[in-house]
Symmetry: D3
Subunit: 195 residues, 6 copies
């Protein structure tokens, strides 16, 4: 699993990046990979792969996000969905490490920050969007984390609101997920079978 952060330029995520060989054709990264970049997020109906969102007429919009595109060539969808959630656990761990005072909760493939809005009353603010699917030759995951929370369709928070430095965050997440993948590869090659 290779990681690459496309630094220093803005790439708008519009759904077309969730495509087989995106990392290879656009960024010269071949094989299992996680590519990170930063930019707005605008996915319209026909770009949605989650048909539940599409039925609901959901919009996915953010002015500024960190995007991770994971591509796996030897995976099937049930495994990819488990890895997608594990990726979000890594994101949660990185934020907890950087900002121990925050209370983050993962619900399925979404992360929320609990904020006190009024004395004693809490509200959940959405931090992420994510989806996983299959191409004919690989499996793909998109994870987007808000940098800005302005003008989003639902109440959100972004890394800027949390005062988390974006570049540092990206590198820690890349490293963390690559370590997970290495750890599992190693675990797989040291157990005997049972009856």
């Amino acid at each position: 699993m290779k990681g690459k952060y496309i630094k220093g330029r803005s790439i708008t995520y519009d759904g077309s990046q969730l495509h087989s060989l995106y990392a290879f054709t656009e960024h010269d990264v071949q094989g299992d990979s996680v590519v990170a970049f930063r930019g707005p997020c605008r996915v319209q109906a026909e770009g949605l792969v989650d048909m539940e969102d599409r039925k609901k007429g959901a919009e996915i919009y953010s002015e500024d996000m960190v995007h991770f595109i994971v591509e796996l060539f030897d995976s099937d969808l049930p495994r990819t969905l488990a890895l997608q959630r594990l990726f979000l656990c890594v994101v949660k761990d990185v934020i907890e490490e950087l900002k121990p005072e925050l209370f983050i909760s993962r619900r399925g493939d979404d992360l929320y920050i609990e904020v006190e809005v009024d004395e004693g009353q809490e509200e959940s603010r959405k931090l992420t969007v994510s989806v996983a699917t299959a191409s004919p030759v690989s499996n793909l995951i998109h994870i987007g984390i808000n940098v800005s929370s302005r003008n989003t369709p639902v109440p959100t928070l972004g890394l800027d609101d949390l005062e988390i430095p974006v570049d540092d965050f990206i590198l820690k997440v890349l490293q963390g997920f690559i370590n997970e993948m290495k750890g599992m590869e190693s675990a797989r090659c040291k157990v005997r079978g049972v009856g």
Copy 2:
């Protein structure tokens, strides 16, 4: 995925429970399942499925543990390893929810509690043991969480030390993991493929 807590009696985990159809033959739970019980843990060399542990002559011993045995009939080892780590994320989330003041970290398939041992100096105490493997007809995961930390071969902490009520903990973990599995099953059946 069915969950069952075998309450009110002590079952010693000695490795023989990591066997296909254990849930069915011993506890009448058929199909994908997670079975929980409580009791000592004593796994000797020949019971170890982790050959790295066996080479090192590792001992697995605990006076009192909570044990979870997961059996999956439609999984392969790469997916099972991702689910094993996701299970540990659920355990971490449950402890964080019950004891928000603790600092827990997951390193691969192990959970640790960071404790201050001396002014400003921290030490990691191991909370769990875990392994995943394959039988000819299913995949299996064992996750053990210390209740007691007495007489363990390495420095550990247990649920008793953390003042976490065991039965409540078990039920929350069972529910949390079953929800994960349901969520992924649902996610899998609502996405279209991409190019």
Copy 3:
């Protein structure tokens, strides 16, 4: 496996229903499913998935049919083809139960009724059409059973000719196939491996 009968309205089967997530996007049924509806059948060359039919320039046409669309998210084509034939066995069993005096025969994935056309001379009348294929995220089966036998391209019989009540038939077939799937799921989770 969920079953749903879309009762009280006519839906024309034109091949576009043999598409991933049809049950979810059109009928709100998520996951492994069998959806039943009634209506004409008109599949033109470009809608055919059976390339042998297409080469032959075959037409699929019926004025009134019962349609079943099965979608399976964890299957591959060799298994789906076995389930397709098993579905036709269930259809045969239901007709035999409702009309014990009929002689039905299954040849591959087709059902025929043997009728006496002249003294001692028998002829086979086709009762069904069926095909199974793969989408990028699931496997799909279409089974169509004639209600009417008017104007079909080959000699057929329909449920009306056999005086079989359509609604009752549909519900019995849905129940029968769902029971098969449950039975196999259970059988799978109770056998040990062998050497």
Copy 4:
């Protein structure tokens, strides 16, 4: 798929035949195969692969049976279970063809004959035993059909009671199942994918 009938000698089925490469090592049939033989059936607790039967302390006993052992080198258990039921549909079809007056019903992987025991009162008599499982290199199915119904642990019927000639029956079943397998192989290689 090759078929072979080991004619002219009695082979007792005791469970040890449900083993990978039985057809090859004992009968020189290599590859996907269905081997038929005749003889008593005596499977004791440790020979049972169905753990539900074993838990119940079930006995499998018959003085005289027809046995079919199917071995599949490219199958997984979910597909093999569908093929097992399809095999029983073939057995049912063969009996219906030979004895159209009988009323046979398949319930899961068992065949029953409905007999009138008293005026208007019907009883089901079991005709078959069957199980499917996995070895490390193949999948295996055993189907046993009673020839004799004497001294069986539950009320049964046998081919002798039904006046079905055993050799003819065996050859028709072998041919029928091999045709099913060929038909599915052909169906698999003529469909295009869908969206």
Copy 5:
């Protein structure tokens, strides 16, 4: 695995032949197959399945080639890639048998002939092009072997330069590869599993 040589007419390979069911729809060969034909090769950017070639703006052009299209219905890409290289080993073996004095080398999925261009100085001339990929219902391999070496974009050699009779070559390769496939099928069905 069936083999067919479409003799006596020229078919231009333009990439559209690397499509599921090409052998069935165009040449009436159903199931796993290798189809051979002869004709020019002209694959333009959009016909390329190798995205590395496409990025480089590579041209694939030959005035006269022997083409083999392999289609496999039960394979996945990792196995298909091994079979692709094995096919090239068969081509190498056939040429070595016909022209023992040549020095052919395989580098990955390409064959080269080493020729002496100047006293003591050797140069490699490319003999083949090849690619393997997946369709929704099968896996596909194209192997093209130059007959002519005129006007190719890189220095090549062709069967004509080597004085190898084309028809004889095609038949020997077809037979050789079919034998490999049969041999592996047989090897697979005679080994027991290990611990």
Copy 6:
């Protein structure tokens, strides 16, 4: 894929090395691997995994051999059998490179050297033994190449007879096969799917 040559000591191959995690437990090589060593070969009936050999009462015996044990954690038997043959192609290529004057032929998973025994009369001498099989957690291949040809059950040749330096041969084969695996991994991650 990691390669390791256990140099400087003799290890007798008796079949017990064809066992999951042999490389890890005996030689500290984890993951997909090819381990090479040198020593006698003595496999008795119960150690044979090729049941055809066992039925024939075949002996596998050599006074001195080079042994390669390949272990693959993500392969199935059909792919492993293709890789086994590809390994033998690599062995053939290495010998051809070291001794261009020899005529080696591969027949399935065996290599032979053609030698002139009498004027114009040729005889084949066997150079190798090989088998591939599955464990519950991995696939395994053994390839043995004679160093000595003394006292073998069939007429053989060995590397000593061919004056091939053993250490050099081993390193070239290891490198060659690892390159094949890398090349296929790379090929797999650069092709788009087709229709």
